[in-house]
Symmetry: C2
Amino acid sequence: MAVEIERKFLVTSGQWRVGARACNIRQGYLCLGMGATVRIRITDGTAFITVKSKTEGLARAEFEYPIPLPDAEAMLENLCARPLIEKTRYAVEHAGKVWTIDVFEGENDGLVMAEVELNGPEETVDLPDWVGEEVTYDPRYRNSSLVNAPLGNGM
Amino acid sequence: MAVEIERKFLVTSGQWRVGARACNIRQGYLCLGMGATVRIRITDGTAFITVKSKTEGLARAEFEYPIPLPDAEAMLENLCARPLIEKTRYAVEHAGKVWTIDVFEGENDGLVMAEVELNGPEETVDLPDWVGEEVTYDPRYRNSSLVNAPLGNGM
C-alpha cells in the first residue's frame, strides 16, 4: 500500500508545455460508488489495476498492480463505466518538484489540471505561474467524478 | 481472462463430508453495483483481487491476480463492504468432477452451497445425492448478494 499526498490545480496558460514529456492515458472505473474506487489504466502500452480509498483531501490509500494488457483492454471495453477518461499526461519540473499536467480529451475536452505529489502533508511547494485555482479538495475534479459529470469546455 | 461456467446447488445433507479437503476463505467486495464486482479474497494465507462481470447465468468473465497478503488485509479491513463473507470451502470428487462445497459462517451461517465447474455450457453432470435445488440463475445466492442480503439460518 502507498499513501498518496497530492495537491491539484487548474492550469491557466500553456507556458508549461516547453520541454514537457508526454504519455497517453486511457482509463475507466470498475466501481465508483462505495468506500473505494477501482480503476483500470493503460499508459503507453502498460496496464494497471488500482484501488483507491474514497478519503477526502490530501492523503488517500492506494494499491496498484500491473496486469496483462489484453485483460485491461477487455475490462475497459466491457466492464468499465462510460465515458472512459482519455487524457495526455505531461511531466514538467518546477522548483525541484515534478508536476504532472493532464490535458483531457473526449467528454472532458478543455479541462487541464496540474498535480504535484508531496512528501508529507506539511510540505510547502512553490507554485508555477501557470497554475490557477487549487481543486485538491473539490470532488468534482476527481477523475472518478469526471466519468459521471464530465467538465468539458469548462475552461 | 477466464470464462467461468458453473452450476450452483443448495446442499441438503452432510454425506459429502467424507474425505473432503477444507480451506478457510475470507472475502469482501470493493464494488457490487455496476457492470462488475471486484472481490478481495484470502484463502489459507494467499490473497487475490478478482474482477467478475455481472452477466447473469452460467458464463461470467473473470480476471484474477495475486496480491500481497498485507494489502488484502488492509483492503478487507478498510475498504470492503460489510459484512465480509467468511466460509469454509471443501472439495470433493463425484463421478469424475470436483465439487466445491461452501459452508458459510457469520451472517450467512446455516447456508451450504455446492458448485461444479463445467467445460462448456452443454456439458451434463451427474448430480450427487446431497444436492438439492439448483440456484445457478438465482441472484440471491451470489456471494456478492450475500453481503447486502445475508441468507443465514435460511436452511
